[in-house]
């Protein structure tokens, strides 16, 4: 089914209804920046379980930030069954749950993480990367030697649903980003069956110069307006 040209503006509750138990879910953001806080809050309230989460980090929950921020809430609430991430060092609980085996967390190099998602969205069968060769990361992974250099063979990564965050959209779902909020969002937009973008503002069609569009609206299924989560307001 084609995505509508004019994107429906939906509530965060409707957005998270796309996530069922055992859904694979990709969430954009890097550290504080570019995370869809409003949708994540709604997902916490919905209490959906057994999520297979794909998110580059586990956000903050540590001595300096003694409350869970963003996706850290999903992990603390026990809503996550597995996670593919690159860095969970700012979330003590995630490290604890990973160590005791409650959540299966696969930690992969960040450049590999983004290229696997890119491959997933770009119709590639995988990627070859020198990153991680001759380290413990190579253990159990397939490698190939090509023109005298060894590479790890990495599979593409896709998800059932993706929640991303942008600065502004137009009604056709074209997105622009602000500062370091861009991060993984444009790539994640390409690699899921359903893609919902949380945005600060929705402008009339024609308001964004086509030269400045970062994520074209063709990738987007629906838009959610940013709510009043304090981190949403600061990012």
């Amino acid at each position: 089914m084609a995505k509508p040209f004019i994107k429906p503006i939906i509530s965060p509750e409707e957005a998270v209804s796309k996530v069922k138990n055992k859904t694979s879910l990709m969430i954009g953001g890097f550290n504080y920046g570019g995370a869809p806080y409003t949708i994540i809050d709604a997902l916490c309230r919905a209490g959906t379980k057994d999520i297979d989460l794909i998110c580059v980090d586990a956000s903050h929950f540590n001595d300096k930030t003694p409350y869970p921020v963003g996706v850290a809430n999903l992990i603390v609430n026990g809503q996550v069954r597995s996670m593919i991430a690159s860095h969970i060092g700012l979330n003590k609980k995630a490290q604890e749950l990973c160590t005791e085996g409650t959540i299966k967390i696969e930690l992969i190099p960040m450049g590999t993480y983004v290229e696997r998602i890119r491959a997933g969205g770009a119709g590639l069968g995988g990627i070859l990367t020198p990153t991680g060769i001759d380290t413990v990361y190579e253990d159990g992974r397939d490698t190939i030697e090509l023109d005298g250099r060894r590479y790890i063979i990495e599979r593409p990564l896709r998800a059932d649903v993706a929640f991303i965050c942008a600065y502004k959209a137009d009604e056709a779902g074209n997105l622009i980003y602000c500062g370091t909020g861009r991060n993984f969002n444009p790539i994640i937009a390409t690699a899921a069956d359903v893609v919902i973008a949380e945005v600060g503002e929705i402008l009339p069609i024609g308001s964004i110069d086509p030269d400045n569009v970062v994520t074209p609206g063709i990738f987007i299924d629906a838009l959610v307006l940013k709510g009043d989560n304090p981190y949403a307001a600061r990012t």
Binding site: F30, H87, T180
Partner: protein, 222 residues
């Protein structure tokens, strides 16, 4: 005996020495800890371009401590300097892995005589994940290690062979500690500079890493 230095003096010395070596216009990626002191010591009208892996080219100091729209990879507010750019993560890592970063400066848990680096995990103690560490050592043109010579428990960080899980094998080009500068000279770790009041024999005795001594060894300037 190697001279004792305060934590602050040691860190400043290391940062200054590396700052001195970075070329005007170089694209530089800094790790956390001592490397973050380096921008304060770039002198002589040089400008280095700092990349943060979360998507800033030409990062500068924060303007508003409460504004999280521009942050570094650790989550601290920063700014983008005139002439800079915001980029997505695929491009940021293409830059790092693809050989576009002129120099990276990283901390170390261990670094060994083959130039291998361990700086991302301690099994059963800390499992933060490697983040961008493996990508940057794979692709940067020059890898500098900025580290205290000894860890807090007194063991030397410059070892014969790393025992901790590696970030990268044979990737280190230059090691700067508070006592010396060591360069990877065609696979041989070679002392090229020593700090004031540091005797080469003392240094060799207290450093498990097998070291050559450069014929042109000189005093470390900082």
């Amino acid at each position: 005996m190697l001279p004792e230095l305060s934590e602050n003096d040691a860190r400043t010395r290391i940062a200054k020495r590396i700052a001195d070596e970075l070329e005007d216009g170089a694209l530089v990626n800094l790790g956390i800890g001592i490397p973050q002191l380096i921008p304060d010591f770039i002198s002589g009208g040089r400008r280095i371009i700092l990349q943060t892996e979360n998507g800033v080219i030409s990062a500068g100091p924060a303007k508003d401590r409460n504004d999280l729209r521009i942050i570094d990879a650790g989550g601290s507010p920063i700014s983008v300097l005139p002439g800079g750019a915001f980029i997505s993560s695929d491009l940021s890592f293409a830059i790092m892995r693809g050989g576009h970063v002129d120099a990276t400066v990283l901390g170390a848990l261990e670094v060994d005589q083959e130039g291998s680096l361990a700086n991302w995990m301690i099994p059963n103690v800390r499992i933060p994940g490697m983040g961008g560490a493996m990508d940057i050592v794979t692709g940067a043109k020059k890898v500098y290690i900025a580290t205290r010579h000894f860890s807090k428990n007194g063991s030397c960080k410059l070892v014969r062979k790393c025992t901790l899980p590696l970030t990268g094998r044979g990737v280190v080009d230059v090691i700067v500690t508070e006592y010396c500068v060591i360069r990877n000279d065609s696979g041989r770790m070679t002392i090229t500079e020593t700090a004031e009041n540091v005797d080469v024999e003392d240094l060799l005795k207290s450093t498990p890493m097998e070291l050559d001594v450069s014929k042109k060894i000189c005093r470390m300037k900082f």
